[in-house]
């Protein structure tokens, strides 16, 4: 395959099969240097399988793949030496100290003891764990372990950072702290690939993203582009008493598109206030009505007919 441009990751027709099950069914991906790229999709969409192929810990079943201009099938160790990985499940060494986790791990990248010692000090400052440096990992909170995992992934000054569901299971405060650190890394020029099933995370962090569903890419663009292309500017959310919701068709004249969810109706329209007034004058009496901006959640619903977080 030809190396085109400055792409850190290039995939063409990439596939991954596990026995009879095909987790990734032929996708094209291009990630440019310096950008933050996202894979958005529900569990089982093929995001993690794709990430593992890019991380060179899962051989591809078909198609082409280049990472840092090299082929994972033949240059796995050389590629892995230059990337950082934040896995979905923490895999820290629980019986070592916070600092030892960074130093021991850094040594695997061919770095000298003096180098990893200095690097560990720097990274512990960066993830705000300097005061826990000599504590064992096991009793740390989930957010702290996650930050340590990120620090560990940075020990080799990676050109590409892969984050698989980085904030799943964290409380809002821990998430925001983590996002802020990732944003700082972006400003430092670290290319990042993030998988998430949180649309707010994708909107916060990603320059560009692809929506995956059933092992395929169903849409691609910046968060704003995707919203513009696949949704309306505003959404009117209506809740009705149980069993008293009018059929979607009855509300169709008041919006570009109507989605019926188990607990509410979504009316897609450029002007939510206007639609709300129209619904009221047509005699509908919802329990509550909320006008909001479209999000990637709406994009996903439009593209797949399903919600992201079930």
């Amino acid at each position: 395959m030809q190396v085109v441009g400055d792409g850190l990751v290039q995939a063409r027709g990439l596939r991954k099969r596990f026995g009879a099950f095909e987790a990734v069914r032929g996708i094209d991906v291009d990630v440019a240097r310096g950008e933050v790229f996202g894979f958005l999709g529900p569990n089982g969409a093929g995001k993690s399988s794709t990430m593992r192929m890019i991380a060179c810990v899962s051989p591809r079943s078909g198609g082409e793949l280049q990472v840092l201009g090299m082929d994972p099938a033949t240059d796995g160790p050389r590629i892995r030496a230059r990337i950082g990985v934040v896995p979905q499940l923490d895999n820290l060494d629980q019986e070592l100290t916070v600092r030892q986790n960074l130093e021991v791990y850094g040594r695997y990248f061919g770095l000298s003891r003096a180098h990893v010692r200095a690097k560990a000090t720097e990274l512990l400052e960066f993830v705000q764990l300097a005061d826990r440096a000599d504590d064992e990992v096991e009793p740390l909170s989930g957010g702290m372990k996650r930050r340590l995992t990120i620090a560990r992934a940075l020990v080799n000054d990676p050109e590409l950072l892969l984050l698989d569901e980085p904030t799943t299971g964290l409380d809002p405060q821990a998430r925001h702290l983590l996002w802020e650190r990732l944003y700082r890394l972006k400003r430092e020029g670290v290319t990042q690939i993030i998988t998430t099933h949180y649309m707010d995370e994708a909107e916060q962090l990603c320059d560009r993203l692809v929506v995956m569903d059933g092992g395929l890419i169903v849409a691609e663009g910046s968060p704003a582009e995707l919203i513009e292309r696949y949704s309306t500017r505003e959404v009117l959310e209506l809740r009705f008493p149980t069993g008293a919701a009018p059929p979607a068709e009855a509300l169709a004249p008041h919006a570009d598109r109507v989605e019926a969810l188990p607990d509410r109706l979504l009316l897609y329209t450029a002007d939510g206030e206007h639609a709300q007034a129209a619904v009221a004058s047509a005699g509908h009496r919802p329990l509550s009505a909320l006008v909001r901006r479209s999000t990637l959640e709406d994009v996903f619903l439009r593209l797949t007919g399903r919600s992201l977080v079930e």
Partner: protein
């Protein structure tokens, strides 16, 4: 879309085939320096109890009997037993270190997944694990030799060769056990079955406490397949200076074959599990 600055080349590089394995050993050493107390019971105290119970206690009971002299071929029971105890302790450490710690690397702490996210390969992790087990057996064995000497169980400098034979025995047992542990999804009864139906019979019927020719003829083939019997034969020949070169070569070849087979299998199974 692109950031203002673009990060320079990463500082990381592939440490290479040998150094990668040594770094796995270094990792284990950092862990051991911090957590050695956790395994001190199995690696130091248990061998000491074996020495006291069988070498000193049981030994004093049988010492002086004609049967004992006939079985040992001259030296005291303790001197005859000492090199075999080294081998037993090595085999037990080899098995233990390759059960729970290996499954933990895959499943509980999952640190194997972290290690192989970098340039080091699953095969290097497997070989590094075996190298560490060998080092640990050598270290604990050296301490054990010192303790045995205090009790008067060391008759010659040949015990150093016995220790080497014990290390070979331990790592030869560890290799297939490591491979086996790499196939387990959960602990279940697997390890207790291994300890009860493999380790304990092996400990009892490998010529450690009595020569295997004292067993009924139909039991003796059990000893011949036992790596511990082969290791014990070398260790004892070295300590008592009763070399039979061809026999010793045969025993060593058996252990080496088991080690190579187990190591190749472990490397493959680590790869299959960590890079599916």
């Amino acid at each position: 879309m692109t950031a203002t600055e673009v990060r320079a080349r990463s500082t990381g590089r592939d440490p290479g085939p040998v150094r990668g394995v040594l770094l796995v050993v270094e990792h284990a050493w950092v862990w051991y320096r911090r957590n050695w107390r956790a395994t001190a019971v199995s690696s130091i105290l248990q061998p000491l109890l074996f020495l006291l119970a069988f070498g000193v206690g049981f030994g004093s009971l049988v010492e002086g009997g004609e049967g004992v002299a006939a079985a040992t071929g001259g030296p005291s029971y303790l001197v005859w037993l000492a090199p075999a105890l080294l081998a037993v302790s090595a085999a037990q450490t080899g098995v233990f270190e390759s059960t729970y710690p290996v499954l933990s690397g895959f499943k509980w702490q999952r640190h194997y997944h972290g290690m192989t996210a970098g340039p080091v390969s699953p095969a290097q992790v497997a070989l590094g694990h075996l190298a560490w087990v060998a080092l640990k057996i050598a270290g604990c064995g050296a301490v054990y030799v010192g303790v045995i000497a205090v009790f008067g169980g060391v008759a010659s400098a040949g015990i150093v060769v016995s220790l080497a034979a014990a290390v070979l025995t331990g790592v030869a047992v560890a290799a297939p056990v490591t491979a086996y542990s790499a196939t387990l999804e959960s602990e279940g009864a697997a390890f207790s079955v291994l300890f009860r139906f493999v380790v304990i019979p092996m400990t009892l019927f490998s010529g450690t406490f009595f020569p295997i020719d004292r067993l009924p003829g139909w039991v003796q083939p059990l000893a011949w397949v036992s790596p511990l019997w082969h290791g014990t034969e070398i260790a004892r020949a070295a300590a008592l200076d009763r070399w039979q070169p061809w026999a010793a070569l045969g025993h060593a070849a058996y252990l080496l074959a088991l080690l190579v087979l187990g190591a190749v299998l472990a490397a493959r199974l680590y790869t299959r599990r960590l890079q599916p």
